[in-house]
Symmetry: C2
Subunit: 337 residues, 2 copies
């Protein structure tokens, strides 16, 4: 199993990506090919004592796509950008999966132009796992396609079902449509048009509309929404969780000596919780609908998140999620015809 890692274009620079990959090779026994500036990568490998590891190779790429570049234009003009080169390796079966944590837009564009969609899939979707009171809920699409058509949302539901079954190991995962009320008659034009299509899709276990508050409750396993809504919601959740934690810390630190002591005493108990809520533990989001396993990590991912992402990428490839999505999409098209 060989995982390509695009180590360029991230918030903290290549060092976190290289270290994360080195640790994944040690921990999970996979091979990895690091794509980016050869000189920088080699220096980092020496630093981490991994330059002689035969399981780690370097594939040079001379260009980088920055976070603020226009994704499609950059991917088309920068032929030697690390994400484009890495996607080329994936297309040519020179690796089994790809992990990226640069610009999400550039990752999606590279996936579309260089790797291609699964036959029958109209638009890819980003599936992001988030913690719920019952375990994990996957939200998709979280940003691959804004202004999604109802048909795209149905395909998201099918792909999200495969994700929940194969990666989260949930049997017959429940699917909900993110909306402003539970009733079938509630919602915007997009939701109103999507509801009956989801109801008619027999390859999924659609239970109806869910509201924002259901996401963390774990009412369903798969939450389907448009890429705009999904992106806004997930970034909001990130910010809110951080804000609550900051406010709690502040309150304890300003609460006098007893509160501070209390803070110390609860620390060990909260450690497990912190781990559970940490996005780094989830190892990135899966770009579903592409012909090969493609993982998109947060731009601010540190080494641990990359190591976990590589583990998820291995699972993504081993479980053959791509072939199953292909079959399920074909099956649902046949049923409709």
């Amino acid at each position: 199993m060989k995982i390509a890692v695009d180590v360029m274009g991230t918030d903290y620079g290549p060092k976190e990506l290289v270290l994360g990959a080195v640790n994944a090779v040690k921990e999970y026994g996979c091979e990895t090919v690091l794509v980016g500036d050869e000189k920088i990568i080699r220096e980092l490998l020496v630093k981490y004592g991994a330059d002689k590891n035969p399981k780690i190779t370097i594939h040079h790429a001379s260009e980088v796509i920055a976070m603020d570049e226009h994704p499609a234009i950059a991917v088309k003009s920068k032929k030697d950008a690390s994400i484009v080169v890495a996607a080329g390796l994936l297309r040519n079966n020179e690796c089994d999966a790809l992990v990226s944590s640069g610009s999400t837009g550039a990752a999606v564009a590279s996936a579309l132009f260089c790797v291609g969609r699964i036959r029958g899939v109209e638009r890819p979707a980003i599936a992001t796992p988030i913690p719920s009171l019952k375990g994990t809920t996957v939200v998709l699409d979280s940003g691959a396609k804004v202004d999604a058509k109802p048909e795209h949302m149905v395909q998201s539901a099918i792909m999200g079902t495969v994700y929940a079954e194969k990666i989260l190991k949930i049997s017959q995962p429940k699917v909900g449509l993110l909306n402003i009320g539970e009733e079938e008659t509630k919602g915007n034009e997009q939701a109103l048009a999507t509801y009956p299509l989801l109801k008619d899709t027999r390859t999924i276990n659609f239970i109806g509309n869910v509201e924002g508050r259901d996401i963390n409750k774990g009412t369903v396993d798969v939450v389907v929404c448009d890429g705009f809504v999904g992106n806004v919601v997930l970034k909001f959740g990130e910010g809110l969780a951080k804000a609550i934690m900051t406010l709690i810390k502040e309150a304890i630190m300003n609460g006098g000596i007893l509160a501070k002591l209390g803070g110390l005493l609860i620390k060990p108990a909260l450690k497990g919780l912190k781990k559970r809520l940490d996005p780094a533990e989830y190892g990135g989001a899966l770009l579903l609908g592409i012909r090969a396993p493609f993982i998109i990590c947060h731009g601010s991912s540190k080494a641990k998140a990359i190591t976990n992402a590589i583990h998820v990428a291995m699972d993504f490839a081993e479980q053959d999620v791509v072939s199953i999505i292909k079959d399920k999409i074909a099956e649902s098209k046949e049923m409709r015809n």
Copy 2:
């Protein structure tokens, strides 16, 4: 100052509404007219020792609109529904403001049909204040109008600016458009079309796009979005905050004797924080764009939230927010012509 309170159709029944109103009269010296089933209200007033208070009157309404009824149909067919009767009092200047915590859809429909829009306002918007690391951010629209047109979003920005100035007492409030990236070129069709209009609106202090994570950061004072997105985001935030608190409590309770002791010690310090994060403290959302002050509370509001909502309603009326919105909307139309 007389505030009408629709006491029917809420999650916890009329008792919380009546108690909240009784307390508001005591605390803020206002008058109140309680709209709903006379017998029930009278019994509750006796129970709370307020049946002889000359500042509290009852206005009987024989019908109720339930949470799951179709708002527009119910408002048109149930002429004696409490929310319709209360909106009639507001239209006829028999009260200065209205507080409701029944079905949001029915409240918006009653406001539109019975009270009417401010001249020049195309769609009302629900403005919901939420706590941020810097103070309070107002998000609008949080559910009055899904599938908003760019022009509606601009009016939300103008009305939200008035809210931030008059109710939150922020001078020259910063306005941001909720989007999936900071760049002007990012977003769905709606956001892309709204951005240049906001940029050209000289009566507001538009600083550009903001992302989900900016809402609680307090990057801006006014966050403008479509009613669908706003509703989903706010309900998600509510659920997430609750989930985090539940998980923290669980972790402390399961963390052994020292963690439990720590939990006790931090409790007083967290009390102030709990108050700050409690939606009840904010006293409901303002329905802006309607010809008279109209407050919409959460269906699960308890007495304290209602008391606070009545206080906000008094401020809404005293600050003459309605007239200021009327002037600002007219001013921005003139500038465009």
